[in-house]
Amino acid sequence: MAKELWKGNEAFAEAAIRAGLQAYFGYPITPQTEALEYMSSRMPELGRVFLQAESELGAINMVYGAACTGVRTMTSTSSPGTSLMMEGLSYIAATELPMVLVDVVRGGPGLGTISPSQGDYNQMVHGGGHGDYYPIVMAPAGVQETVDIVYGMFDLAEKYRSIGVVMLDGSIGQMIEPAEMPPMLEVRKDIPEWAVRGGSGKDKRILTSINLDPAEMEKMNLRLLKRWKEVEKNEVRFAEYYMDDAKIAIIGNGTAGRIALSAVRAARAAGIPVGLLRPISLSPFPVKAVQEVAAQVDNILVVEMNAGMMLEDVLKVVQGKTSVEFYGRIGGVMPYPEEILAEIQRIAANPSPINGHPRDLWIERIEPVINR
């Protein structure tokens, strides 16, 4: 199929439909709403389930019910809606059901702004819901990558009976880019063994997240953890650019990574040996790739559209083996490539290890910029 122009939100909706999505439930929220609107016409047209829920609480619990019947199901929302879904996500994880969530992240905290942000990193990657559970979280950096990741996420969710999250910032939801749609898969006819179907006696199935016996809950927790270990082994994804001879590495995901790539290209043109590591799977985190980068370069610059959430994960992996700095824009502001280029030039001019926490040093640099 040829490339066409697609708006990010509509593109991921169509990609999910082509992956055999059977039931979509959602609630309007900017900058994600086009996905809900797209689903409202496309899903019924194909004889599939679409329902606008009363709230994100309603939407995630409709997904919960749908997932219990074994269908491919999903919802999409943006940050305040994601917060409301945390209860349901924890329950769904505990019931070991596959589902897909697309979170089109906007600036927070609170009602915040409708501008792009990566402020949901912690609540998605480190679990905003209660208990030990482990969603797969992927962060695309453009419309085509969003399409590809959403298309494949249903298989992953089913393989690991896990929650699959695709986290994009609002700019990817809103931008229009050429993208090639994957082929339309047939809707699955069979249903998984564990799904409820209306059976009784010996054929009765129960799907629940409660077990008052802590010993049994401990076993269940261990099962989830061991399944997660498999995900960590098999599903790490990242992209590297100009890393071969790099002495400075930028680590940034999604749109922050993409903007950083422009800065890397400009710096390379000026002869600075800088490269980019762009984690695509945020959970599982590309630990080995970051370790290798840390062993290779003298300086790492983490770039994010938050106050350094992924930074903490990078610091944990690097363990002081190389100097790590941070640059972020917060609350819905996006960095310009020039800002990141200036950071690269600053580090190239003075590559000696920093003295202090990267966040503290960044605050000193960014405060005058923010208050300008």
């Binding site: 009363e54 939407a59 919960y64 019910g65 409820v196 209306g198 009784s200």
Partner: protein, 260 residues
């Protein structure tokens, strides 16, 4: 000593197939058990056991899935109508019902139940109103009567501070999408028989695809009311029914001819 030969006797009353042959964790004299039995009898009589998916809620009935002998899922507190919606939309040829307490349905889950009724969601709700939060030890619920003592209204519910009981049946009956709404009480055999008929009507509503149906069952919680089961039944008749009148609050015209 006379040997009784039961071989030739006719069975007139037995364990419903849809009720699993296990003992429950309900307190002695609690009406949750009666309601379970009524639902199971109706499911059996309508031949629905192979076609039904129940949605348990959070409250004393959280484990109701162990007591019914057909497929069940278990919802977060208050979210059963939304979860049931997801199940029903994906399995429209199945009978889907929720079983919810008053705290679950009309406090934390008030949004979900009103939305489901408004949508005319083709599900059935069994609503167990025992005027308190049984499972957590008898705190005040939206249905707690004025002046009623609970562990979180130790001097009796003060309407100046905490307002008045929510009348769920009256409220939901105003929704166009609701097709059958009735309130019954489980305090004596006559009323229990009436309750069963209402439950039957509610499931008939769903089978006919007429939309949302709910039966509110006034229920006892002898443990947290600090009463014997008999006194609890009497208290319910004398104190609860005047506040929560039993009756049919909404009957879809297509049901009016139906005799159950």
């Amino acid at each position: 000593m006379v040997a009784l030969d039961i071989k030739d006797m006719e069975v007139v009353y037995q364990h419903p197939d849809s009720l699993a042959n296990v003992s429950t964790h309900y307190c002695p004299g609690c009406t949750h058990g009666i309601a379970h039995r009524l639902v199971a009898e109706v499911i059996d009589e309508m031949g629905l056991a192979e076609h039904t998916i129940g949605v348990a809620s959070v409250g004393c009935s959280a484990f109701s899935y162990n007591y019914f002998d057909f497929d069940f899922v278990q919802a977060p507190h208050g979210r059963a109508p939304a979860m049931a919606t997801g199940v029903k939309r994906c399995k429209p040829d199945r009978i889907v019902f929720t079983y919810q307490g008053d705290g679950d349905m009309i406090s934390i889950g008030a949004g979900e139940i009103i939305a489901a009724a408004g949508r005319g969601e083709n599900i059935t709700v069994i609503f167990m109103n025992n005027a308190n939060y049984g499972m957590t030890g008898g705190q005040m619920a939206p249905t707690t009567l004025p002046g009623m003592k609970t562990t979180s209204s130790p001097n009796g519910r003060d309407v100046e501070q905490t307002g008045y009981p929510i009348l769920a049946s009256e409220l939901l009956a105003t929704q166009e999408g609701a097709s059958f709404i009735a309130r019954r009480s489980l305090h004596d055999p006559k009323n229990i028989r009436m309750a069963k008929k209402a439950i039957r009507m509610a499931f008939e509503t769903q089978v006919r695809g007429l939309g949302f149906s709910m039966v509110e069952l006034l229920s006892t919680c002898p443990t947290n009311w600090h009463m014997t089961p008999a006194n609890a039944a009497k208290w319910m008749e004398e104190k609860m029914i005047p506040y929560f009148p039993i009756g049919d609050y909404k009957v879809h015209p297509a049901l009016s001819e139906l005799k159950v």
